[in-house]
């Protein structure tokens, strides 16, 4: 005798999102970096910031740190992201 069973997985819709448009070049752009705030991010993002400025000609880098590294980015960070041309979001331990 066969058994009929219900699927236990979520199966619902998820919030739609799409990849942001790619930039032709980073030169002269404003780039944001969102750090989760863990200690390991500091040297990594410092090195990344140098690379962006010296190698890619980025105009400015804004590094913002989340108040809770296990939670989504704070509203202030999301508001700041509105005037960035590109953003890096990274984790570090």
């Amino acid at each position: 005798m066969s058994l009929e069973i219900l699927d236990p997985t979520y199966g619902g819709g998820t919030a739609p999102f799409a990849m942001a448009g790619r930039l032709e070049s980073l030169r002269g752009k404003t780039v944001g970096v969102i750090s989760n705030g863990k200690k390991g991010t500091r040297p990594f993002f410092s090195a990344l910031e140098r690379e962006l400025l010296e190698t890619f000609g980025v105009a400015s880098v804004e590094r913002l740190t989340k108040s809770n590294y296990s939670a989504p980015a704070d509203r202030e960070i999301m508001a700041a992201a509105g005037h960035w041309d590109a953003a890096f979001a990274g984790i570090g331990d």
Binding site: M1, S2, L3, E4, I5, L6, D7, P8, T9, Y10, G11, G12, T14, A15, N68, S70, A71, P72, D93
Partner: protein
């Protein structure tokens, strides 16, 4: 009853097991087949429609319905009468202060500790006595597992997927206990945190593994609590120095001494708030000298406030064994207490 879930068919009970294992829908143990009839029985018991919204997980914006929660509860071995506790626990977990995504995704490896209070404990045959932290009875085992399976299947909290735990701990199979309210004059945990007297309630906490302790050599409450404080301090030195919710489990043999001396849970919390403290330089004794820096004399409290400590009466009648259950990681997740069978955000 109309269900939104996709339906599958399998030849027999064993085929169901292989289907669920192959799709990573279970935790490695067998499941009860979630037939439409069994799921409907859970929903009828709670008088919920399949599309009843239990809550929305705020980070991934996932709507958790009663139907999906019931499917996972049946799989875990829940009877319909267990389902109200599962609903209340998951509702509590979806509240913002609990930070469900962070607590279940973190490398820290926390599990969801569920503490049940009120008359529903006796209705469900839950025991807060022998083996209180280890499969003490059918209801606690199944309810704790239901929450875990729901995380697997509704939030993708599977090892290596959303669950990035380095180690995890055995509480991830099931981590549920009922407070031993009958054998203590203390207020039940849920009542202390806002659930009305004589109502049933559930408290959830993102928790590390229990750390067992023993002190059978004193009858002085302060000395007994010094042992609990030592365990919290050990956790602060070895794991995380940050303050948060700690739970302590106090068994009958030790409770007798508090009762004789007239100590309430509030007295215990106030004492522990003062005692559970370390200095940053204590890290140097356990291999963490590199992060002591020039702040060695800085004092750290294990509890941000006395109310951070969840004092739980549980355990078998003999033995001076207690336990400290540390938080996942400081204050990032807060314990949440909720009445069972109550409606959240309802206009009444």
């Amino acid at each position: 009853m109309e269900f939104a879930s996709q339906r599958h068919s399998a030849e027999d009970f064993m085929a169901v097991q292989e289907l669920f294992h192959s799709r990573k829908w279970t935790d490695g143990l067998p499941v009860v087949p979630p037939t439409p009839e069994a799921v409907a029985a859970c929903l009828e018991w709670t008088m919920m429609t399949p599309d009843h919204l239990v809550g929305i997980e705020p980070v991934r914006a996932r709507s958790i319905t009663a139907e999906k929660l019931a499917v996972n509860a049946v799989m875990a071995g829940c009877l319909p009468m267990h389902f109200p506790v599962v609903v209340a626990a998951f509702t509590a977990m979806l509240q913002d202060p609990f930070l469900l995504h962070g607590a279940t995704a973190s490398t820290g490896g926390a599990a969801i500790l569920i503490v049940v209070n009120g008359p529903i404990r006796t209705e469900l045959g839950m025991s807060g006595s022998f083996n209180a932290l280890g499969a003490s009875d059918r209801a606690t085992s199944a309810i704790g597992r239901a929450v875990r399976l729901a995380l697997y299947n509704l939030m993708d909290v599977r090892p290596g997927d959303v669950d990035r735990s380095t180690l995890g701990h055995p509480g991830k199979f099931s981590y549920c206990l009922a407070e031993d309210e009958e054998n203590t004059p203390w207020l039940p945990l849920a009542e202390e945190y806002g659930v009305p007297e004589h109502a049933s309630g559930v408290t959830v906490m993102a928790a590390g593994a229990p750390r067992q302790l023993m002190n059978e050599w004193t009858t002085e409450p302060a000395e007994i609590l010094d042992t609990f404080a030592a365990e919290i301090k050990a956790s602060m030195r070895h794991y995380s120095i940050w303050p948060g919710n700690y739970a302590i489990i106090v068994p009958p043999q030790l409770r007798d001494h508090f009762n004789a001396a007239g100590w309430s849970k509030a007295d215990i919390r106030n004492y522990m708030f003062e005692k559970a403290r370390v200095l940053r330089r204590d890290w140097a004794d356990c291999g963490k000298g590199a992060v002591v820096g020039d702040r060695g004399d800085r004092e750290y409290a294990g509890l941000s406030a006395p109310e951070d400590l969840l004092v739980i009466a549980a355990g078998g009648p003999a033995g001076g064994f207690g336990a400290v259950i540390p938080p996942w990681y400081g204050n990032k997740s807060r314990a949440v207490t909720m009445a069972i069978g109550a409606c959240v955000d309802c206009d009444v």
